[in-house]
Symmetry: C2
Subunit: 194 residues, 2 copies
């Protein structure tokens, strides 16, 4: 059991409707020391990969991505969810649907920050149905860049996103894969990983 799985068991809260609340350490209050441990583990799992950029999506992916980036020595780009008046120039745009918020967003990255020379590690906090991730993959590929790998903090293994992404041939590494959780007992069961 790794440090993130231990922390989920200690401080995560299971809510009705397959909601796992980890807001005390992952996506509202953020434990930067934990993020550093996660960064070390991602570095180990993507050893040998030629990665020169990390791409994430606002907002809760940004903190993890920045700390993880220190372990790879690369810059971070975060995709924006709405068109901002401060964005100008050519944009890469993908439409994604959020499982949590039940709405559609345009995921946007300025074209100048992704090119065919880029070898990208995608980082995000959660993977459930994988819609946000599909948007990020679409954006990287539309720039002619390469997805070298995908690092997720928590994957909901009982939803389809992870299987679909792995079936497409991507190296997807989720530090904690929740196989099952029960809001009445609070029990959380993780998939065993090497």
């Amino acid at each position: 059991m790794n440090c993130l799985e231990e922390r989920i068991l200690r401080d995560g809260v299971v809510k009705e409707g397959n909601v796992l609340k980890v807001d005390s350490f992952l996506n509202h209050q953020m434990d930067v020391e934990l993020f550093n441990e996660m960064g070390k583990e991602f570095k180990r799992r993507f050893e040998g990969k030629d990665i020169n950029k990390i791409l994430t999506i606002e907002a809760s992916g940004i903190g993890i991505a920045c700390i993880v980036a220190q372990h790879f020595g690369v810059p971070v780009v975060f995709a924006k969810k709405t068109q901002s008046i401060n964005l100008d120039g050519e944009m890469l745009v993908a439409e994604v649907e959020s499982f949590t918020h039940k709405n559609k967003n345009n995921v946007i990255v300025a074209k100048k920050f992704l090119s065919e020379d880029d070898h990208v590690l995608l980082i995000d906090d959660f993977l459930a149905n994988g819609c946000a991730l599909q948007g990020l993959i679409q954006i990287v590929q539309s720039a002619g860049a390469t997805v070298e790998g995908i690092g997720i903090a928590i994957e909901k293994g009982f939803q389809s996103g992870g299987r679909m992404i792995r079936n497409l041939g991507f190296q997807l590494e989720s530090l904690a894969i929740v196989e099952d959780m029960n809001w009445e007992t609070g029990e959380i069961k993780f998939r065993e990983q090497d």
Copy 2:
């Protein structure tokens, strides 16, 4: 001249309407090494302050806040701009108006993450009219917590936010204070600091 001022002169772009674009290193693509230098400088400027938490606001404050937090050994909380269905329990809410986006947002922090025991450093990427910052100060004070200081990457010194915050007695440290900028010549003039 510090590392952020040097970087602004090198890679910042002045646009019509007093817009300073720093999206290649600060708030779209993020240079994590630069953020580490900024973290060292904030640590120096807030030496002796008893800080146990950093508070920022989504989205572009999060990356800076997480890297800076490593230099203080404290967790980060980021305020959210919209009510999310994943937020539950009691909330601290302040209404703020964005100068950039010309709209109003509710700034929201779960009450459980701020208490009267907290000594908070506020971190954000930009300070212009200071509306977002006023919302964060309001939230900290409504929790009975203490604002120990405010660390900003870039302050627009020709707008009123910084003066107002300093007049209220807060220790506001901006790593780069732009006194004047000219979109026709591209010239940027910084306020001299010790």
